[in-house]
Amino acid sequence: MALLEQVTPAVIFMVALGAVLAIVIALAVRKLYVHEDPRIDEVEEMLPAANCGACGYPGCRAFAEATVKGEAPPSKCTVNSPEANQEIADFLGVALGQQEKVVARLACAGGTHVAKMRARYAGVDSCRAAVAAGGGGKACAWGCLGLGDCDESCTFDAIYMNEFGLPVVIEDKCTACNDCVIACPLDLFSLHPVSHKLWVACKNLQEGDAALEECEVACNACGRCAMDLPDVIRMENNLAVVDYSKNDMASPVAIERCPTGAIVWLEKDRVIKGAAAKKIVRKTPLPIEGE
């Protein structure tokens, strides 16, 4: 009995306390309620949940908020299929929006069959580690090392390494998420709309024979492309630079006289070289200098 007498006040107190707090919480829920558009959750459901950031927003949730607010057209999501984006547009009753497909492009064509190696790199299997160890042994200090940091960074399987040790971007799978651009220690990747068809696949800043000695497909700064299409192409630091703000005027005429095929015209999953570009028939890697 004594026990019950002791316990009763405590029980009453706890129940009363619970009741008071429950009322406070119930009031707080009413008072502090934040109205959130229920469509945000639904739109988020329709997004691919890749959280890749290609749309420019920090994740799918933020993008869903932006589309519901009308700040971003649904087509900005590059991971979703166009049909899925159309579904979002229909659901929200907004226009799908015009969004040109953007893909990652590599500014190097120096595979093992055309680019010389000066030394053999042995160490951690990563481009970044190779760059820290004397530049990785490739004769061209600007060229792709082919150890596949970009391949590894790609979450969409849009990059594979070809038989010459160069990464190839599968345009259909590429979502322009920027991961490979960050991964490449030599800054060879950049994002471009597919309408940018004129492309300089080289970053070698040397001219003439100095560049050709290192790689057969290097830009040797002859300047022919800039002569043929002076409005769009200019020579800068011994390299042809395409001014994409004048992309409307770009035409394949610029690639025709390129002696090495460093400047190319890109069609979907196809690289077109000019008629004057020297033909590369070698399929095997070049031997390492001095071995």
Binding site: A119, V131, A132, G135, A141, E291
Partner: protein, 456 residues
């Protein structure tokens, strides 16, 4: 008595630091070989960025004749130094040349006049003892002096600590703990007068009362040679510490010589110290009284792959190919390393020139490397050998695991940026994990991510 002192671990007895490793010294190749002048090549490739900081700005144009010792590039701001012509000749061009680090950098190509006596005609004597500390610091920059121990950090920047730091002691680093290298060893034996003179100049510039020249106990002859020429007032002393790697690191040396701890991320001046390398100090002693600049340096060319190893006085800008062809290298393919085997940079091109920071050049044959290396990388079992070796008390084991998982940002919580890449952890790792290489990648990644975040 000795039994008692030996029971205490050396780092508690003082005179050294805790942890570290004892790699094979291999100094016998060149330790007994006096410094010899190396012939001039036909062309010198003078990189405009010999040092840490901003590259120098060329003062010459192609076709211009220059005299040995004449300035050919000026400093670009405070974090930069000028460059002087190492030989009389003609400027050929300014072009991009390969560097030890990899990327091509602009360099002045100087065609040396054949048949020229290369007598030193530049420079005039001046009284260094009456100069003010500010003038000395300016003179150090004008001489193009950088840390000749390897980091190539501009010396005048080290001489200008923040005003709240009061430097009372100068430490001269003569430890040369890197295996194979004997540059500083020979300089201490052959040019102790210049070393002492340089130390006195440094003391005046920093207004320090005393200086300690520290060397390891495998270089007793060097300590003896310096003791013979020390000034009588007792302001400079020589201290011999036990041989251990990395004794020559700034932080380790401060701990060993004066038992002070340089704070993480801080400069030695924060604890009242200034640390300078022997080769740098010798150049200060030799150049400043004559208003001259750094045009040559002592380079140890060594290793089992070299026919005639030795210590050579080489003009800055001499291509490696020229040195190797003169000294003869054995076998076909080699491992070429500038600096020592522990912290040196692998070289991927023979056209890399000698720079101010290059104190040694090591050539190993594939068989020498195979003998030592672990055939494959085994998984980490957290044995903790690296933890016991790390002189900074970091946890390389944990850092390595995070690096493999690419959790680079998390590594900063484990003080990634305190690591100075001494290589002790990789050296002791029984699993053959290239820890230091991982850390280099992680640091580069972290820096990249930060700069890219800053861009946005």
């Amino acid at each position: 008595m000795s039994a008692i002192t030996h029971a205490i671990p050396p780092f508690l007895r003082g005179g050294t630091f805790a942890h570290g490793v004892h790699p094979e010294e291999n100094k016998h190749y060149t330790a007994g070989k006096p410094i010899q002048r190396f012939p001039f090549p036909r062309e010198l490739n003078l990189l405009l960025s010999q040092h840490a900081g901003k590259p120098s700005v060329p003062l010459v144009y192609p076709g211009q004749e220059v005299v040995r010792g004449e300035p050919i590039a000026r400093a670009d701001g405070f974090m930069s130094v000028p460059l002087h012509a190492p030989a009389t000749g003609v400027i050929k061009k300014i072009e991009l040349i390969p560097t030890a680090k990899g990327p091509r950098k602009p360099a002045i190509i100087l065609a040396v006049h054949p048949g020229e006596s290369q007598e030193m005609r530049y420079g005039a004597p001046r009284d260094i003892d009456t100069m003010s500390p500010e003038d000395i610091i300016r003179a150090v920059q004008d001489a193009g002096l950088v840390g000749l121990g390897g980091a190539a950090f501009p010396t005048h920047v080290k001489l200008s600590p923040p005003p709240e730091h009061n430097v009372d002691t100068i430490l001269i680093n003569g430890c040369e703990c890197e295996p194979y290298l004997t540059t500083d060893h020979r300089l201490m034996i052959e040019q102790p007068e210049q070393l002492v003179k340089g130390t006195q100049i440094l003391m005046r510039a920093m207004q320090a009362e005393r200086a300690i020249i520290g060397t390891e106990d495998n270089k007793q002859d060097a300590a003896e040679a310096i003791r013979r020429v020390l000034p009588k007032d007792g302001s400079i002393t020589v201290k011999v510490v036990p041989t251990k790697y990395p004794q020559g690191a700034e932080k380790m040396l401060a701990k060993a010589l004066v038992n002070r701890e340089i704070p993480s991320g801080g400069y030695p001046s924060a604890v009242g110290l200034g640390v300078y390398n022997v080769a740098t100090t010798v150049q200060i002693g030799a150049l400043l009284p004559w208003q001259r600049g750094v045009i040559e340096r002592v380079v140890t060319v060594t290793g089992p792959g070299i026919e005639k190893p030795g210590n050579y006085l080489v003009a800055i800008g001499t291509p490696l190919r020229f040195i190797l062809e003169r000294l003869g290298f054995r076998g076909s393919s080699q491992y070429l390393i500038t600096g020592g085997p522990m912290m040196g940079e692998t070289v991927s091109s023979l056209d890399v020139p000698i720079t101010k920071g290059c104190g040694g050049f090591l050539v190993l044959r594939p068989e020498d490397v195979q003998e030592q290396s672990i055939p494959q990388v085994y998984p980490c079992i957290s044995c903790g050998k690296c933890v016991e070796a790390c002189p900074l008390y970091l946890n390389p084991c944990q850092l390595g695991k995070l690096a493999v998982k690419r959790r680079y940002e998390e590594m900063e919580d484990y003080h990634l940026f305190d690591c100075f890449e001494c290589g002790c952890c990789s050296y002791v790792c029984p699993a053959g994990i290239p820890l230091v290489q991982y850390f280099r990648v992680s640091k580069a990644m972290n820096r990249d991510l930060k700069s890219k975040a800053a861009e946005k």
